[in-house]
Amino acid sequence: MEAKSDTSLFIYHHGAEIAYLLLYVDDIVLTASSESLLWWIIASLQQEFAMKDLGALRHFHGVTVEPHPTGLLLHQRQYTLDILERDGMTDCKPCSTPVDTQGKLSEAGAPQ
């Protein structure tokens, strides 16, 4: 059902219908060109193995996905808070760290 292009990206192509499936160990992000195709794929996968549909994507891989009027906001606020909590640093005083906020992306290579 899925064609391979990246080791963790699977693409389904049938006529005008397209679906992309990202697989990270046991986490799946699925998007499809129509609701019906989405449900059909979820149902097919559930026949193969036990799987839970967690609804619209909110978190993936430590990244929070938040709908925004102009798009999607991807941030790691919760991930950062979890780290602070784990290390007992939630009450620590914040301190500004100088960092380049004017960085420009170029075609040659994006800063990682």
Binding site: D6, T7, S8, L9, Y20, L22, L23, Y24, V25, D26, D27, I28, V29, L30, T31, A32, S33, S34, E35, L38, I42, L45, F49, A50, M51, K52, D53, L54, G55, A56, L57, R58, H59, F60, H61, V63, V65, G71, L72, L74
Partner: protein
């Protein structure tokens, strides 16, 4: 712990076999974690039977290791495509993902502590499915 053991049995994770001569028996142990709700209160304890992958021998118990890692750029690209086309994006969670894979190499491990079959205590588990901690675990 009972629950985890029940799932392991239901998945036919292993067959109990007499200890084979000269073969490596991978050892394991129970790992306990606390599952907390979003507000931090304790929901339940979770037990997991994990194998000590470091007691596996290369070429005998496993050949190649491979980590399926999704590149952040790919995630953003897919999200962007879905967003611009107004597609629904869903998150799905595979239950007991590690138990879904089928092993190609024969791996033996000891019976889970405290769940040793009293009628066959000398037998070992011949794994059919991958387990946590194994080199073959995804």
């Amino acid at each position: 712990m009972e629950e985890e053991y029940t799932v392991l049995l239901a998945n036919q994770t292993w067959d109990l076999v007499p200890r084979p001569w000269g073969s490596n028996i991978v050892t394991g142990k129970w790992i306990w974690t606390h599952k907390r709700r979003a507000d931090g209160t304790l929901e339940r304890y979770k037990a997991r039977w994990v194998l000590r992958g470091s007691t596996q021998r290369p070429n005998v118990d496993y050949d190649e290791t491979f980590s399926p890692v999704v590149k952040p750029a790919i995630v953003r690209t897919v999200l962007l495509l879905a967003l611009t086309r107004g597609w629904p994006v869903h998150k799905l969670d595979v239950k007991n993902a590690f138990l879904q894979g089928v092993l190609t190499k024969t791996v033996y491990c000891s019976q889970p502590a405290e769940f040793v079959d009293s009628s066959r205590p000398d037998m070992v588990c011949r794994l059919n499915k991958s387990l946590y901690g194994l080199k073959q675990a995804p």
